[in-house]
């Protein structure tokens, strides 16, 4: 074995998930008929739980265009797409030396987090809580119904 190029390009979680889906990982409920290894199914299961599962190529492209307005490293953008921080404090550990680079630009960063939330869809487990929060705010008339359903 010879490693010609250790790093021939980074992949986002979405790209790996898309690749596994194209191999047929999502289509076969028995998980025996398609030629996908059991270890690849484990990766697929993990990625289905992350923010990657609802992302699309368009939403990521649009987000990348938005990123140009802020000076971020490539690795940081990659990490933001994978984690999808929904508040400023979640963004904080992803960005290196946040305080010296963006400590003073609190407003632009808040706008940036808002655009993250808008452009990238929420992961499945967070989606419910966000929806609940939304229905609480608007005091949805069918609140009783959902309680019964639960």
């Amino acid at each position: 074995m010879k490693i010609l190029e250790a790093n021939a390009g980074a992949l986002t979680n979405f790209e790996v998930l898309d690749f596994l889906r194209s191999r047929g990982a999502g289509r076969d409920p028995t998980r025996v008929l398609v030629s996908v290894e059991p270890s690849e199914f484990k990766v697929y299961d993990y990625l289905e739980q992350t923010a990657a599962c609802n992302q699309t190529r368009q939403s990521i492209d649009e987000f990348l265009r938005k990123c140009k307005s802020i000076k971020l490293a490539k690795a940081e953008i990659l990490n933001i797409i994978n984690v999808r921080p929904s508040s400023l404090v979640e963004l904080y550990p992803i960005i290196e030396e946040y305080d010296t680079r963006f400590g003073e630009a609190a407003e632009t960063m808040e706008e940036f987090v808002e655009s993250v939330v808008q452009l990238l869809p929420a992961p499945p487990n967070q989606m419910e809580s966000e929806q609940e929060a939304a229905t609480d705010q608007t005091e949805a008339p069918d609140g009783e119904k959902t309680e019964v359903a639960e």
Binding site: L4, L20, D45, Y46, I94
Partner: protein
């Protein structure tokens, strides 16, 4: 978290695979060799992304099989230092936490990299485990297995294979990630939402 790596490998194609198309046969052989295996200083092989070229096909003297040189790209799992990853709790003991991604279990958060200040107390439900609690503003935030946990990669190491191993030691792990929870925004997701 995931990278592509270009690898060249020379492999012997056993004759019982001759009935398959060459691409499929080589792909199957490569999957057996590289998928779900750790390559030192490269990472954990996840999947064969594509096959770039297949050369050769020589049959060496006194061998009943052809040998090919293949260039292919492999998807590898290799987190970079400083990356934030979401994982689940696997174990929690006095030395710290052990986290799992489902496909990769050797992630350790040692006690010095836990949120400061924090303490541990025996878990009432499980005798061998402890529960870690972060104390902030006189409030207590326990780390339980309910939530997903975000950690930051502190370093990634590839220990060499031990020559001798004690009977009761942990199983050997070829790739170990050391994680940190000691920053704002890290830890169980429910702390910050």
């Amino acid at each position: 978290m995931f990278y592509l790596s270009l690898i060249e490998h020379t492999l012997r194609l056993p004759p019982h695979l001759l009935s398959l198309p060459l691409n499929e046969a080589i792909r199957g052989e490569l999957e057996g060799l590289f998928v779900d295996k750790v390559i030192a200083n490269l990472g954990l092989g996840i999947s064969i992304y594509d096959i770039r070229s297949i050369d050769g096909g020589f049959i060496y003297p006194s061998e009943g099989a052809s040998t090919y040189t293949v260039k292919f790209r492999l998807v590898v799992f290799r987190p970079f230092v400083g990356e934030v990853i979401t994982a689940r709790l696997k174990e929690s003991n006095a030395e710290g936490l052990r986290l799992s991604l489902g496909f990769f279990d050797d992630i350790y958060v040692p006690a010095p990299l836990m949120p400061v200040p924090s303490r541990s107390e025996p878990d009432p439900e499980n005798k061998n485990q402890v529960r870690w609690i972060w104390m902030f503003d006189e409030q207590e935030y326990p780390i339980d297995g309910v939530d997903e946990i975000r950690f930051q990669v502190h370093n990634v190491s590839y220990p060499s294979i031990p020559l001798e191993q004690d009977k009761d030691s942990k199983p050997f792990a070829p790739m170990v990630i050391k994680g940190s929870l000691d920053a704002d925004g890290l830890g169980p997701i429910s702390w910050w939402i």
